[in-house]
Structures are given as structure tokens and as C-alpha cells.
């Protein structure tokens, strides 16, 4: 862990929570509060208690990719409304609002990049866009990332943060599971590899499809990785849940994840794994 920084001044200025929700710059674990630039400088990790804050897709890419190497692909894709889904509001309205709020076309950003000078493809989810839910656009973007990786003969780095499938696209959102699975298998048949980085949370349809198919799977500390989240398990089964239910740490113990890699170590770790998977097996040596 990094040396503890003096956060006393920040503490005095912790803003009042709005609607009982703590301010996004206040650490939910230890209560430390940070300015935006402080958080960004620390890769959105609390220097005090190591809590990993959520990272937006573009921030994540900035943290991982060598500067200036990222070239976005398929940015123009937008969700349709094939079911004319309407609950208390129309799906189309929710989409407009999400795009205005996040500046993102949907919950995933893909493109070519290099990490520690090893060329790769990245597919990064953005939880801020409708809870990182996977609809047709996320599915399509992920598939294109696989194809792009295969085409260029590079490894795909997937970074997930998702509440699951996008209900508003009905059965088509479920079909994004087999769709992305097929894309990963095509990539692997082409000799490509995939590294899956599971951020908080990686659940339901995303965990039950491409995220679990990484040749190497790593998780961020404290991330919830579960097909069914703790609340629903509790309600359905009335079982007493273990304290670390579904957390990355218990997933390692149960054999589902290769390692927990803190955000500060993620870039060098990915560099090392990318070198191992690069075609000559000795890239960057």
C-alpha cells in the first residue's frame, strides 16, 4: 500500500451526503475524502485504506494504455429499442439520459492500444452507463474487439464492470451471452488470447459469458463477482451469507480467479502477461 497521505484537510471538508448517498469522492470504507485530481493521481484507489473506487471506461484506458496509443473503434454504435420497451419510462428516454450523463454511447469502449509497449486490443466497460448492463451494443462492441484482436494478432484485454444483461432489450440482451462467447472462441481459434480483468461489480450475464473465458482472469480487490448478487440470494434462499460472499477474495479461494491484482500493479501485471502471450513468446524481452 502507498504511504498514507495527509487527508486531514479533506476530512474537514467532506460534503454532506445527498439523499443518504455518500459523495462519490468520499471513501465508503474509511470515510476519507479526496479532490478529483487526488483521486485521479491515485488511480482512484483510496491511499488510506486501499478501497478501489469505480473507474470510468476512459479513465481506465488512460491508466492502462501507453500514452497516445489508444484508437477507439465502433464508437458510433447506439442501442435501438427493438421491444419498444416501456416500464415507468421509455427505454429510449433512459438511453438519452445515460448518454447525456456519461458522455458515452453505451456501456463499453473498445479499441486498439499498447500496454507496456505490447500492442493489444482493449474492451472496457463503463458502469456509469445504465449499470454497465449488456445489451446489443455492448455485445456487438465486444465481438468487434475480438475480431480486431484476431485480425491484428494481438491479445484482448477485457475490463468488466456490469450489473448484468440489459433487461430493456429482453431476450436479445440474453442473446449477447452466446454472442460474446462465440466471439471469444473465434478469437481463440485464431490463436488469440484474452485476459479478463474483473472490476467491481462483474455479475450475472457478463460473468456468465465472456468475462469468465479469459485465459487469465484477475480481479480487483473487493470486487463483487457473482452470477446472482447477495441481495437476491438472501431473499430467495433465506440462507445466511458468508461475510465475503461473492467477493474477489472468496473467488480466489474457490478457484475461479487466477489472482487479485491491485490497480497500482495492474499495468505491469498486464504487461507481463501480454508478453507471455505475444506470438514470439519473447516480446519486449
Amino acid at each position: 500500500m502507498a504511504e498514507r497521505i495527509d487527508i486531514s484537510i479533506e476530512h474537514r471538508n467532506v460534503p454532506e451526503p445527498l439523499n443518504d448517498k455518500p459523495h462519490p469522492n468520499t471513501c465508503p470504507r474509511c470515510g476519507s475524502h479526496y479532490r478529483d485530481d487526488e483521486l485521479a493521481e491515485n488511480l482512484h484507489v483510496c491511499p488510506h485504506c486501499n478501497h478501489h473506487f469505480a473507474v470510468r471506461a476512459r479513465q481506465r484506458i488512460a491508466q492502462l494504455a501507453d500514452e497516445g496509443t489508444f484508437e477507439e473503434e465502433a464508437a458510433e454504435l447506439r442501442s435501438q429499442d427493438p421491444l419498444e420497451f416501456f416500464d415507468v419510462r421509455a427505454y429510449t428516454e433512459r438511453l438519452v439520459e445515460a448518454e447525456q450523463k456519461t458522455g458515452q454511447g453505451d456501456a463499453m469502449v473498445i479499441g486498439g492500444a499498447a500496454i507496456e509497449r505490447v500492442p493489444c486490443e482493449v474492451a472496457v466497460m463503463d458502469f456509469a452507463f445504465m449499470g454497465g448492463s449488456m445489451g446489443s451494443v455492448v455485445g456487438e462492441k465486444f465481438c468487434r474487439a475480438c475480431e480486431s484482436a484476431a485480425g491484428r494478432g494481438v491479445t484482448l484485454v477485457s475490463v468488466t464492470a456490469s450489473g448484468g444483461a440489459r433487461m430493456q432489450e429482453g431476450i436479445l440482451s440474453l442473446m449477447q451471452l452466446p454472442k460474446t462467447v462465440c466471439a471469444v472462441e473465434d478469437l481463440k481459434d485464431a490463436g488469440g488470447a484474452m485476459i479478463s480483468v474483473m472490476g467491481h461489480p462483474t455479475t450475472a450475464g457478463v460473468l456468465a459469458s465472456f468475462a469468465s473465458l479469459g485465459d487469465v482472469i484477475v480481479a480487483e480487490p473487493g470486487a463483487l463477482l457473482a452470477f446472482t448478487g447477495p441481495r437476491v440470494v438472501q431473499q430467495t434462499t433465506r440462507e445466511k451469507l458468508p461475510e465475503d460472499f461473492g467477493l474477489a477474495e472468496s473467488n480466489v479461494r474457490f478457484g475461479h480467479v487466477d489472482a487479485i491484482v491491485g490497480r497500482r500493479d495492474l499495468r505491469p501485471y498486464l504487461g507481463r502477461v501480454l508478453r507471455l502471450f505475444s506470438k514470439n513468446g519473447a516480446h519486449g524481452a
Binding site: A204, L213, T236
Partner: protein
Amino acid sequence: MAREAELHLRDRLSRLKSIGLLRGASISGELARLQRQLEKTSEPTDQEIWQHVELARHPDRPYTLDYVERIFDDFVELHGDRARAEDPAMITGLGRLHGRTIAVLGQQKGRDTHDRIRRNYGMTYPEGYRKAMRVMEMAERHRFPVVSLVDTPGAYPGVAAEQHGQGGAIARSQALMSRLTVPIVACVIGEGGSGGAIAIALADRVLMQENAMYSVISPEGCAAILWRTGEERVKAAAALKPDAAHTLALGVIDAIVPEPEGGAHTNWDEAARLLGEALQSSMEDLSAIPGDELRRRRRARFRSLGVYASSTVSTDLSTEETPTPK
């Protein structure tokens, strides 16, 4: 359902007719029925959709084993994942269909209370998917085609199931199905519940019985999230459109398997006869295709699912929408 979806359905119907997807006696019945559904599609009420949900869950509806014993000869059930457990919510086995050995998978709900509890109401554990996977691997080695009967409210949402890797098991079961080079025909025979269903439904030909449902979330679950009360399940079902006609219109399934008038529960033998014919006719269509090509098409089929548009403006919703072709 909108005009566009209706067009999809008409298009599918005409394709069905021309390529003769399902042959024999059942096909005319199916087409007639589809035609009738098509006539209704202009305005299916919320209640009509909900009726499908109720029929899909009907307690007297035939389950996987009821079909298996009627459709397959010499059926031998196989048990266990060869690692940790036997999951009675997932049936696997070998049987013969028109003389050809088939590997059979399918979720199994229980009929009486004891059986229901033992089979966990058809909710599969990771061990169940792993059992299915080892039987699929055996099928691949021996060139047995695979038939998969889908009938589950969903994968089991319990502590142990999570600890044993529910998400990964569902992902890997799909991955394996995308690798097989033998024909795979799946049919949703009751509830096609989300990840628990798709885990065994990545097939060359996906069928759905007339009164089955196929959905990303249960109407109750959807209602609880969006309306914050399970009471709105009828509205949620109408929004999710989990019925066979809508699912066909969206290109998610390839054909609807007719049921006896009134629903499969009214006549198990006839329901089994219709299902058996649909399975056999699909198998005949697929058996001529070389394994590599079968796999390529299977992946291409799922790769094509989804509806999205391209926008030239990156922060605005597009005005020029170009729907993806199916």
C-alpha cells in the same frame, strides 16, 4: 408488436415454407398455427402474453423425462459431473432417435413435492452444467448429435452454487457448445429462464414450443426491479415479450413447435409426437453439413443476434438509424 416485427415474422414464415425447415405432418399444422399467430400479432394483449407464461409454467406440463421416455429408444441416463456431485435438476443420457444415437440434455423439474425439492425445481447447480459438459464432450468424441431440452426458472441462486462457480459454469458450457462439431438442436419446452437456459441452448437450431417462454429475467424479477413490486408481473411480461411468436420475430429462435390444442399438458403423447418430429426433422437438415461448417454457421448465427444502430454524432442519439440486417 409493431409493423416491423410483423414483417420479420412474415419473412420468417416465408423462409420456413421455402426451405422446409420442419417437414412432415407437423409442418402444415405448425405453419397454420403460425399463420394464426401472425394474424393475432397485430395486437396481442398483455393478458395473452401472460397466458403463455402461465402455460409455460403449468404444473401438469410434460417435463424433460416425460418427453425423453416417449421420444427416445433405449434411453440410458448418465449421472454425475465426475468431480463433485450429481445434480438431479439436469438430466443427461444417451438414447436413439429414429435409430441414431443422440446425447440428450435437459433440465428437469419435479412432479411431486419430494421430487421437486430433490430436483431443486429445475434450477441447475454448476455441477449440473458440468455434467452436461462432460456428456457433450463424449458426444463430440463419438459423433453423437446433441438434443437439449430447456426448462428452468433459472440457474440456482444459492450460496454454494455461487461458490462452485455458477457464472463460470454457464459461460464454459456455452463455450463448449460453440466448439462442438456435431449437430445440436435445442428446444425450450417450458421456462427458458435466463443464463440458466442459455447455458444449454447454444445450438444449430433453436426451437421453442408454442406455449413456452424464453426470457432474460422472470416477469416477477423484472417487475420487482422496474416497478418495485412483483405485482406488476403481467405488465413486465408484456414488456419483455417472452412468448414464442415474439422470440421468433426477433430471430432468436428458428421455429415454433406446435402443441396440442389447449397446450402440451392436455395430451403428453401428442405433445411428444410433435416435439419428436420437430427434433428429427431438424436433425435431418443438419446431418448433411460437415462439422466445421456446422460450427462456423452456429457461431455466425449467434454472432448476428442483436439490434443496434450507427450514429455519426458521438454524444447524441442518432437520427439516421440503420438497423442491422438479420
